[in-house]
Symmetry: C2
Subunit: 188 residues, 2 copies
Amino acid sequence: MTTATAFKARVVNGVDVSALNETVAAIKDNAEIAKFNFRATNKWLGGAKNRTTIKEFTGALDEHRNGIQAFIVDNSEHEVLLGYDEAPNPVEWLLHALVGCMTTSTVYHAAARGIVIEAIDSQIEGDLDFRGFFGLAPDVRKGYDALRVSMRLKTAADPITIETLTKMSPVFDVVSRAVPLTLSIETY
Amino acid sequence: MTTATAFKARVVNGVDVSALNETVAAIKDNAEIAKFNFRATNKWLGGAKNRTTIKEFTGALDEHRNGIQAFIVDNSEHEVLLGYDEAPNPVEWLLHALVGCMTTSTVYHAAARGIVIEAIDSQIEGDLDFRGFFGLAPDVRKGYDALRVSMRLKTAADPITIETLTKMSPVFDVVSRAVPLTLSIETY
């Protein structure tokens, strides 16, 4: 399928390709449009439980989600990790972020190229050795030491093409390369 | 506060310190207990929307959450990113995972050391330049190029001690160091 076809098919994979192309053209004109700042606040609720509020973000030269209801989501831990299992734990939420980002990135980049996708079903898993977290083995890392993602797509495109699109994912980039993090702590 | 005090105070920061110490002792005895496998499945729902199911995991030589209700959570994108904003987007979920993990890790390690924490309130933000995602600038990465976390804790402990505990976080480890990811794609 050619780019011309993608332009004609205004919506591909549920993505408004005309709007997508306009966005890309606008960014080429003014790089500031591409600069986003996402944020969240979190409140500890005792033990393994804490609550995140996700609302405003900055991007495309504007502030968004002002005055609307925030997304409120919890972290917990299963009993075997000394919590009450009221919500997924942070390392499970990371799997959600990663597999979701790889899916959305595939869908958007496929749409931009006119590649029609009819279905995507994925599985993700990660191995984590808590000897790292507990400081019991200096050679064992604290986070996942391996992640595995299997995606099954209904599409005429070949797996190698799809893999290229999947790897455009921002969260895939984050887990594949270190991100500098500034930590500021205040006690009172 | 000494370790002996922590043992006496069975619950510190809402964490069962006796159980925590038993877990650590058990892992020292048999490293296999520390090995966990977390997983999730994800289904694309069209456009920017996809849905993750989080349920069973393996750890402490057992399978968990068999036969209980799964956690079901969505990814979406805001209108400015061509979605309908039905849920946080994947890079926002990543902030949730990260700040939550840093909080829980601080709470658990503080409890193990007998450090009492009365409150934690955090802010997290990340800068993301979408020129990377759109492939418009080879020097711009696809994911966050900077993350900033501010934590405010009500505790007698000093910020430098707290920082050590915070950095025990598995998700902090993941964003601070690359994780090997195996990707398998099948099309039909």
